[in-house]
Amino acid sequence: MPSKTEAFFGSVGRRVILIGRDVHYASKIINDAFYWTFVSPVKGKPVRVRATISEIVKAGYNAVPIVAVISLFVGIILALQAAYQLKRVGALIYVANLVGVSITRELGPILTAIIVAGRSGSAFAAEIGSMKSAEEVDALVTMGINPIRFLVAPKLLALMLMLPALTVFADMIGIFGGFLLSTTVIGIHPYNYFQQSVNALLVKDVMTGLVKAWAFGIVITIVGAYQGFKVEGGAEEVGRRTTASVVASIFLVIVFDLFFTTLFYYFT
C-alpha cells in the first residue's frame, strides 16, 4: 500500500509524463509538417499539387460566402457601436477610422480564423482521425508514403495561403459594411468617409493583420492534424477529437493573437 504522499507524487508524475509526451508529439508534427511542406520539395519530393488545390477550394473558396456575410455584419455593428459613442462628442466622421483600423488590425484576421477553425480545422481532425481508425494511415506508412506529407502538407500550404487571402477579403467587406451604414443611417457623405478611411489606414495595419492570419492558418492546421493523429479508437473518439480541435484551435488563435498584438504594439 503506497502512502498518500507517494500516491500524490505518483499521480503528478504520471500527468507530467503524459503532458510531456503530448508536447513531444505535437512538436514532432510541427517539425514534420514544415519539413514536408518546405524542405522536401527542394529535395525533389514536391507537395501534392492536386490535393493542395482541392484543399484551397474547400478551405478558402467555399468559405467565401460565410466570411462575407459575417464580416459585412460585423462592419455594420462596429460602425453602429462607434457612432453611438462618437456622436456625443460630435466626431462622427471618426467612425471610418475606428471601423477601418479595428477591422484590419484585429477583427478581420480573428473572425476569419474562427470561421476557418470551425469549418476546416474540424474537418482536418475528422478526416485524419477517421483515416487513423480505419488503418488508412497505417496503410500509407506501409506503402512508404509519409502521412504528414500526404495529408498535412497540402492542408498547411492551403491554409497559409487562404487565411491571409480570406482576411483581405473580410477586411474589404467589413469596411464596406461600415461604409454602407455610415453613409445611409448616420448620414456621412460617401466621399468624406472614403477619404477618412484612406487616411486612417496604414499599410502597417493591414500587414500586421495578414501576418496574424498567416500564423493562425498554421495553428489551425497543426491542431487539427494533431487531434486527428491522436485518434486510437473508433468513431466516438473521432467525434470527441473533432470537437476538441475546434476548442483548442480557437483558444490557441486567441493566445497567438495576444502575443502578436503585444509584439506589434511595441515594435511597429
Binding site: E135, E136, A139, M143, G144
Partner: protein, 261 residues
C-alpha cells in the same frame, strides 16, 4: 528451408501491459504461413511488428536477413517497398477511386508515365477480378470487393512478401473461399512469401503450408499442417476441436481476480 523472416525474442508492450512475451518464429520463403490464435492473443500486434509499424521493446525482426527493429525510417521504406499489406478493413483511401488507390504505391515509388501506370493498375485489378471497377469509390464497393481492391493495391509493386490481416473476417463463406483461392494463386504463380493472420480454421487448412500458433503472447506451435493436426498440445487441441474455455477459477483465485490483485 530458406527463411524470409526470422523473429527472435520479440517482446512488445502497449503502455504497461506486455502483449508479446518473447516470440521467436521463422517464416519460410515462397510459402504461405498462417499465424493462428484466439482473439486478443496479439496476432495483429505481431503483424504490425513484422511490417515495421510498431517498434519492439526487445528482440530482433530480420527480413531477408536485415533487422528492421533497428532501422531508420528511410531504410525501412526500402524494405517496405518489397512488402504488400492487406489490412483487416482493406484500408482503401475513401477520397480516391479504386484505380487511384491501386496507383498510389506505383506513383510513389516509380517514375512512370500516366498510361503505363493505368496499364499496371488494370492488370492488377484484372488479377483480383475487379476489372471495370476502376472509377468506383470504396464506399460503392461491397466488403469482399474492397478486400480485392486492397489486395490489388498490396500487389501493385509485385512484392516479395505479402501480409494479410484476417482476410476472411466479415465475409460470407463463398467470398472468403474466393479470397483463399487468390492467396493460393499468388503463391503458386508468383512465388510470393505470404503471411496470413487469421482465426478461421477452414481457411487455415486450405491455404497454409506452415502454421504458427500464438496463445497469450507466446508461440505454442509452429510447423507444417500435418504436425498441427497431430499436435498433442492442450491449447492447440482446444482450438482445433473448437472446445470452449473450461478453466474455472478456484474461489481464492476468483477473489483475487475481482479485487484486481
Amino acid at each position: 528451408m530458406e527463411k524470409a523472416i526470422e523473429v527472435i525474442g520479440l517482446r512488445s508492450h502497449y503502455g504497461q501491459s506486455e502483449i508479446l512475451k518473447g516470440v521467436s518464429l521463422t517464416v519460410p520463403r515462397g510459402k504461405t504461413s498462417v499465424i493462428l490464435g484466439g482473439s486478443g492473443c496479439g496476432k495483429s500486434t505481431l503483424l504490425k511488428h513484422l511490417i515495421g509499424l510498431l517498434r519492439p521493446t526487445e528482440g530482433n525482426i530480420a527480413i531477408n536477413g536485415r533487422d528492421i527493429a533497428v532501422m531508420g525510417e528511410e531504410e525501412l521504406n526500402e524494405v517496405r517497398r518489397k512488402m504488400g499489406v492487406l489490412f483487416q478493413g482493406a484500408a482503401l483511401l475513401n477520397s480516391m477511386t479504386v484505380a487511384e488507390n491501386v496507383a498510389l504505391p506505383i506513383r510513389e515509388h516509380a517514375r512512370l508515365n500516366e498510361s503505363t501506370v493505368m496499364i499496371m493498375v488494370r492488370m492488377k485489378l484484372d488479377l483480383v477480378g475487379l476489372s471495370g471497377f476502376e472509377n468506383f469509390y470504396p464506399s460503392q464497393l461491397s466488403g469482399g470487393m474492397k478486400k480485392r481492391a486492397g489486395l490489388a493495391r498490396a500487389i501493385a509493386l509485385d512484392p516479395e512478401l505479402l501480409f494479410f490481416d484476417e482476410p476472411s473476417a466479415g465475409l460470407d463463406p463463398v467470398t472468403a473461399a474466393g479470397l483463399d483461392d487468390l492467396i493460393i494463386k499468388l503463391r503458386n504463380v508468383f512465388g510470393i512469401t505470404i503471411v496470413v493472420v487469421t482465426h478461421e480454421l477452414a481457411s487455415v487448412f486450405t491455404i497454409a503450408d506452415y502454421v504458427i500458433m500464438l496463445d497469450a503472447g507466446k508461440v505454442i506451435f509452429s510447423g507444417i499442417l500435418d504436425d498441427l493436426r497431430n499436435s498433442q498440445n492442450e491449447r492447440v487441441r482446444m482450438f482445433l476441436e473448437r472446445r470452449p474455455e473450461t478453466k474455472t477459477y478456484s474461489p481464492d483465485d476468483y477473489f483475487r481476480f475481482i479485487v484486481g490483485d
